[in-house]
């Protein structure tokens, strides 16, 4: 972090146009955009930018692999709501960012990536470490720029920040040639301001649509609200809650929606979709009205679209016109910012008695709960579900949890109950293994006062475990829970269910994660029984620095319930107990 002198100098640049090098302009513009932290990895084509860093009040976190940089910027953005910034050199540095960029794209996360490229004179000559990164990232960014003139740097970066945050957020990449970094230009921050954001011309919230939506809500007997990531992106938590409470409508959440409606709220049904609880999915299938708020009817949420909620009228409130009628045909489309639309809609919604419908949903929960692993007595085995449940209980649900992808991710979603937005950070759309550890570093950097937990499987953890060194170098306090079952668990589960238990390439040899942590100077311990969980979690939390817990869980456990891909939402594989076969909703 810079000294007061660098802060003053950087601030002076923002108000007084000054001649600076392109490299200095990069930092000066970032300072102007409010950036305090970046994540990156140096290299030849970005060296001028690194050389200028010392003059600016920005903290740089050195990552161990550029994928970590883009995930950290992503985690930073998800935890804080601000734009995350990643920096890499040309060629392999830039291509290593790509998985993280795609992750941010699929989950609509505002990230700006800055890459160096070879000098403009030799662009396109297959020079050393040259790669067409704007071409490569074209389909996984909202927009990208190839900048080869010093004077274009500030306008491009400012424009990138606007694009990343406006409308439906997403990642933007700015590729800057080395000669543009080395040249000089007058830095005029105010003049580099982009044109005003152009709202998507197909946004459309009509009076007739609002009236129709209100009428459907008034007349519905079995309505369900489907709340997604858009709720927190739009800051519509309060409006959503008002709608649910006033009209007494139960709320089902997408994976990225978890936390956007309090888990403890009596109207909260929980997560919908492939691993949603049976009462949630059955309620959706039985509903006569779905009110979709900032969600996109992803295939993991709908199952087979032809059998999805066939009895329900559908209202879709969505900021991206390209998402409307994409997967599911809707009856009323209110295309605009969720919060603004709900504010327009709420005055038309009178109080409503929803007790009959709520009671019938409630009644369907009871039988399910009996088979829930959480309610089964301790058998001496350690189940991942127990770990999640205990973590939630012990942290009082106040931690930011950053998960990887796979079984543990779904167990977390089922058993860790999120009360507040931005407390679950997970790769939902792209499903990126290796996301958790670096994204947690980003989240902790953004929210140093918050308790941050990484929950990762033994497979995904190994994809980015070198970032343990980053944690140590940065002196961060992150609690790490490795859910270790010796398999690529979710793939093994699919093999169990759909490939006749042919466990091809899923048994996994791992290092002793406690020793691996120790090699980094990070303390840790293995946990083998449920009895040890509370003590181990307490030890991790009270440890001054980062702490790793290696939970040796049941090897061949599966996530239930599960809707096989392409099945109808109510055709789920239920928890074993009676009969682990595909059951119909009548079988509860």
């Amino acid at each position: 972090m810079g000294t007061n002198a660098t802060t003053q100098a950087a601030n002076a640049h923002l108000t007084t146009p000054t001649r600076l090098t392109g490299a200095e302009i990069v930092w000066a513009t970032l300072v102007g955009e409010g950036v305090t932290d970046v994540f990156g990895y140096p290299g030849g084509a970005i060296l001028p930018v690194y050389d200028a860093l010392r003059k600016f009040p920005i903290h740089h976190t050195l990552v161990r692999h550029e994928q970590g940089a883009s995930h950290m910027a992503d985690g930073y953005a998800r935890a804080s709501g601000k734009v995350g910034v990643a920096i890499a050199t040309s060629g392999p540095g830039a291509t290593n960012l790509v998985t993280g960029i795609a992750t941010a794209m699929l989950d609509s996360i505002p990230v700006v990536c800055i890459t160096g490229n070879v000098s403009s004179k030799i662009l396109g000559t297959d020079a050393f470490q040259e790669v067409d990164i704007t071409g490569i990232t074209l389909p996984v960014t909202k927009h990208n720029f190839l900048i080869n003139k010093t004077e274009d740097i500030a306008p491009a970066i400012r424009y990138a920040f606007q694009i990343a945050q406006s409308g439906r957020p997403g990642p933007v990449l700015v590729d800057i040639t080395k000669d543009a970094q080395q040249g000089t230009a007058i830095f005029d921050f105010a003049a580099a301001k982009p044109r005003a954001h152009r709202p998507h011309p197909m946004l459309k919230v009509e009076e007739s649509g609002l009236a129709h939506a209100a009428e459907l809500i008034r007349n519905a007997k079995r309505p369900v609200i489907l709340a997604g990531h858009g709720v927190s992106e739009s800051g519509a938590m309060e409006q959503l809650r008002t709608l649910a409470e006033r009209a007494q409508i139960p709320v089902a959440l997408t994976l990225l929606g978890l936390g956007n409606f309090p888990a403890s709220h009596p109207l909260n049904l929980g997560m919908m979709g492939m691993h949603g609880e049976s009462w949630v999915n059955n309620a959706i299938q039985e509903a006569d009205l779905l009110i979709a708020c900032g969600m996109r009817f992803d295939d993991r949420v709908t199952g087979s679209t032809s059998t999805y909620a066939t009895k329900a009228k559908k209202i879709h409130i969505e900021v991206d016109p390209a998402e409307v009628n994409k997967n599911i045909k809707v009856d009323v489309a209110l295309i605009g910012d969720l919060r603004a639309v709900l504010e327009d809609l709420l005055p038309r919604i009178p109080g409503r008695d929803g007790s009959a419908w709520l009671k019938s949903i409630d009644a369907s929960k009871g039988a399910v709960a009996v088979r829930d692993i959480k309610n089964i007595a301790d058998s001496g085995h350690l189940y991942a579900a127990h770990v999640m449940h205990d973590l939630w209980r012990i942290t009082a649900g106040n931690a930011i949890v950053v998960t990887d992808v796979g079984q543990h991710q779904m167990w977390e979603a089922q058993y860790f109950h999120h009360e507040n937005p931005r407390t679950l950070i997970t790769s939902g759309g792209l499903g990126t293994m290796g996301f958790a550890l670096p994204a947690a570093i980003g989240a902790k950097t953004a929210c140093p006062e918050k308790e941050v937990w990484v929950i990762a499987g033994d497979g995904g953890f190994q994809m980015t475990s070198p970032e343990l060194s980053t944690i140590v170098q940065e002196g961060l306090k992150i609690n790490i829970a490795v859910i270790n079952n010796g398999y690529l668990g979710m793939v093994r589960q699919w093999q169990e269910f759909f490939y006749e238990r042919n466990y091809e390439a899923t048994p996994l040899v791992s290092p002793d994660f406690v020793k691996l942590a120790d090699a980094h100077g990070i303390p840790g311990r293995a946990v083998r029984t449920r009895a040890e969980v509370a003590d181990a979690v307490a030890e991790a939390r009270s440890s001054k620095g980062t702490y790793l817990l290696n939970f040796m869980v049941e090897k061949e456990d599966a996530v239930y319930p599960m809707i096989p891909a392409g099945n109808a939402l109510h055709e789920m594989i239920r928890r074993p107990g009676k009969d682990p076969l595909v059951e119909s909703p009548e079988d509860i």
Binding site: L138, L146, R195, R198, H200, M202
Partner: protein
């Protein structure tokens, strides 16, 4: 069904790739694509024809608008319009066989634009079916077609239709520099179409 999109895009490197890449990503084949300067400085106009389901039109248009460099998109679909295509056709023809081709060209209201002792070149503008017709007749006649170059379709709505987006960009006759400045800086004033 066949969709015809007319789009105004910023005249910058890579913009065509962004448009084409969208269709690639949606796994939609582009039947034809023509691009050229428009009446607005700094903006190119393109006509893109593709085969996609009727429902896909909305999503394609919405997705095109999401591209930062796309300023306006019109889905011509079934709207009354004038659509034209240009074709250059080179035909092998000796002095003996020319006269028959001359007659055909006359009937089709095409033009001969190049003539040598061994070949001639026909220029023809018209709707797709008319061009297809000439090609078919040429294939059935003595003359052997050596080369065909077709421009793809260009489309314009009939009547005094101008989209809200373009209206907000200012009058077509405005000073060119000014129009460019407006297109890049003041799109906030753009009204919904």
């Amino acid at each position: 069904m066949l969709h015809t999109f007319v789009a105004y895009v910023e005249d910058l490197p890579g913009v065509l790739t962004r448009v084409a890449s969208l269709f690639r990503r949606l796994n939609i084949n582009i039947n034809s694509l023509t691009v050229g300067r428009s009446e607005k400085a700094g903006l190119s106009r393109l006509t893109l024809v593709c085969e996609a389901s009727g429902e896909a039109g909305h999503r394609i248009r919405a997705s095109l608008f999401k591209l930062e460099n796309v300023v306006d998109v019109d889905d011509i679909a079934q709207a009354p319009n004038v659509t034209r295509e240009l074709a250059l056709i080179k035909v092998a023809a000796t002095p003996h066989s020319r006269s028959q081709i001359f007659e055909l060209v006359e009937v089709f209201r095409a033009r001969i634009v190049d003539l040598t002792s061994e070949s001639l070149m026909i220029e023809m503008t018209g709707v797709e079916s008319k061009i297809e017709g000439l090609i078919q007749v040429l294939n059935e006649s003595e003359g052997q077609i050596l080369e065909i170059c077709r421009s793809g379709k260009m489309t314009m709505r009939r009547g005094h239709h101008t989209s809200g987006v373009l209206r907000a960009l200012g009058a077509a006759n405005a000073d060119l520099e000014e129009a460019a400045a407006v297109s890049l800086q003041d799109l906030s004033a753009v009204k919904q179409d």
